[in-house]
């Protein structure tokens, strides 16, 4: 296992080292010590390696991640796993605003709470939040799944496209063009798999409600002017 102590080596050295790893990487297990809220820890990895970050991180941790499994043993600042392509990112603590923004694939698990704008403009990523999420989450979400075991804040799914949202607790308010939808068998199946992948075996899919797009705002329609 490679251990990198950020109180001794620079963030740039760490990320360059991580970028040198590829699909045949021999060093498959990494540990990062003393992140102390640093920005851009473990960004842009494209290798099937596993990284444990021991402490809290700042902005954009694990951004653009491909293939790698990154676990933060602490909380994450704004933009964690932003534009993730594939792989798995787990935050043991809380995540700040716009977690998983624009993500195209992979699984982001937040074991604490996520803040505002979680999954904003998500494009295929799956996000599972054990706690609550803040306002304007899944804004303009295009595809992928957002699973919330706690409550959702104001304006959930505003201007949403085809992402699917599952919330177990309450939703403070729904955004424009977002509505509750029926849970059909295929949704139970998808949700059960996502919960299992996130390690939430005790949570049942029938405890959730599904939300998605009313598909009224896809194209400009003068009758909907009030909703824009």
């Amino acid at each position: 296992m490679r251990t990198i102590d950020l109180s001794k080596s620079s963030l740039r050295e760490l990320n360059e080292d991580l970028h040198r790893q590829n699909s045949g990487a021999n060093e498959s297990s990494w540990e990062i010590l003393n992140p102390r809220g640093a920005h851009a820890v473990a960004v842009g990895i494209d290798a099937p390696i596993s990284i444990n970050v021991k402490g809290s991180v700042g902005y954009y941790c694990a951004g653009m991640n491909k293939q790698a499994a990154v676990t933060v043993h602490g909380s994450a600042g704004p933009g964690v796993a932003e534009n993730m392509m594939s792989g798995r990112v787990v935050i043991k603590g809380d995540a700040s605003q716009y977690a998983g923004a624009t993500g195209r694939g992979g699984l982001l698990v937040i074991e604490g709470n996520a803040s505002s704008r979680c999954g904003i403009s998500m494009k295929g990523i799956d996000i599972v939040v054990k706690g609550n999420i803040g306002h304007m989450s899944a804004f303009m979400a295009q595809s992928g799944h957002l699973v919330v075991c706690g409550d959702a804040g104001d304006a959930l799914g505003d201007s949403i496209y085809e992402a699917k949202l599952f919330v177990r607790g309450s939703v403070k308010s729904l955004g424009s063009d977002c509505l509750e939808k029926e849970m059909r068998p295929e949704h139970h199946e998808t949700l059960t798999k996502l919960l299992k992948d996130a390690g939430l075996n005790g949570v049942k899919s029938n405890e959730f409600k599904r939300y998605g797009s009313a598909r009224k705002l896809y194209n400009f329609n003068i009758d909907n002017a009030d909703a824009y």
């Binding site: 102390r36 809220g37 700042g58 909380s75 600042g77 700040s96 605003q97 803040s115 306002h135």
Partner: protein, 297 residues
């Protein structure tokens, strides 16, 4: 962008470390606001005494000031000069008289703030240089608020730096920008509030002073900002014995707080908090949008 740090000490045993802790916090936020910096430190008040913090680009203008005040007003004052700033200590009941006299007779000296506990230092320059210049790390007290500025709404000047103080022992720092400051400034000016700058943040500070003058406590005055101020804001506010935080409902500007039995701390980022004692055991959270947090002792 801007960076904010704040520390409110609950356990008096930590008071001697206030300056050194806040100095380290401020140093972590340089990248968020490299153009100017400032801080307000609430020291232990001495009974019946008040302090006026003065600033002058030409420190020689402080020379002979206590003698002139003694001669012209018959008021005894003590002057401590720190680089471009100076603290004038005097009997509390003479505060208004001396402040009016300063405004009229030494207009080249700017008044940064006044009160029984507060001292305010702010300058254009890199935040760590500003902190060193005024020896922040040696200062002691109950609470302190610091700011690193990346200017958007008004020029990079000493007076445009934060904190802004518009009332006795009050100060406010801001990350964000306000859209309705011009109209609100006119309203407050009609009510007799005095403005020193064209800066949006000064209006927010004055708004809170105005509300507190109407009898509201710090918490209720902060709640008013959510309805009456339009724009982006994280405010951190100090009063003689209080410390408050509020974010606008959109809450784009970053904020993280930490609390232990010994202190409450605010940082624009977690990086600002990592050097605090027992931070690993602290309750760390992101303050909710449109929610007022305040502590008093």
């Amino acid at each position: 962008m801007c960076g904010i740090v704040g520390l409110f000490i609950k356990n008096q045993a930590l008071e001697p470390q206030l300056g050194s802790l806040v100095s380290k916090m401020l140093g972590t936020m340089c990248e968020r606001g490299p153009d100017s910096a400032g801080f307000a430190v609430y020291g232990t008040p001495s009974k019946g005494k008040s302090k006026i913090t003065l600033q002058s680009p030409e420190p020689t203008s402080f020379q002979g000031l206590p003698e002139r005040i003694k001669k012209e007003l018959g008021v005894a004052t003590d002057l401590t000069v720190k680089s471009s700033h100076a603290v004038l200590t005097l009997a509390s009941d003479k505060l208004e008289t001396v402040r009016d006299w300063l405004r009229t007779n030494v207009p080249q000296i700017r008044i940064m703030g006044a009160g029984e506990a507060i001292e305010i230092y702010k300058e254009v320059g890199y935040p760590t240089d500003v902190a060193n210049r005024f020896e922040l790390s040696k200062m002691t007290g109950s609470h302190a608020i610091g700011h690193t500025r990346m200017a958007t709404e008004s020029a990079v000047t000493t007076l445009g730096a934060h904190p802004f103080s518009t009332g006795p022992d009050q100060c406010l720092v801001h990350n964000g920008s306000l859209s309705n400051h011009a109209s609100l400034r006119r309203e407050l000016a009609r009510d007799g509030i005095r403005f020193e700058t064209e800066n949006d943040t000064e209006v927010a500070a004055a708004y809170i002073t105005w509300r507190m003058k109407q009898g509201l406590n710090l918490g209720d005055a902060l709640r008013g900002t959510i309805d009456d101020l339009d724009g982006f804001f994280n405010f951190v506010v100090g009063t003689k014995n209080g410390f408050g935080v509020v974010r606008d409902p959109i809450a784009c500007k970053p904020a993280v707080m930490a609390e232990t039995d010994d202190y409450v701390a605010f940082g624009s980022e977690y990086r600002a908090l990592v050097n605090l004692p027992d931070i690993d055991k602290a309750h760390v959270w992101e303050p909710e949008p449109a929610t007022v947090y305040f502590w008093e002792r």
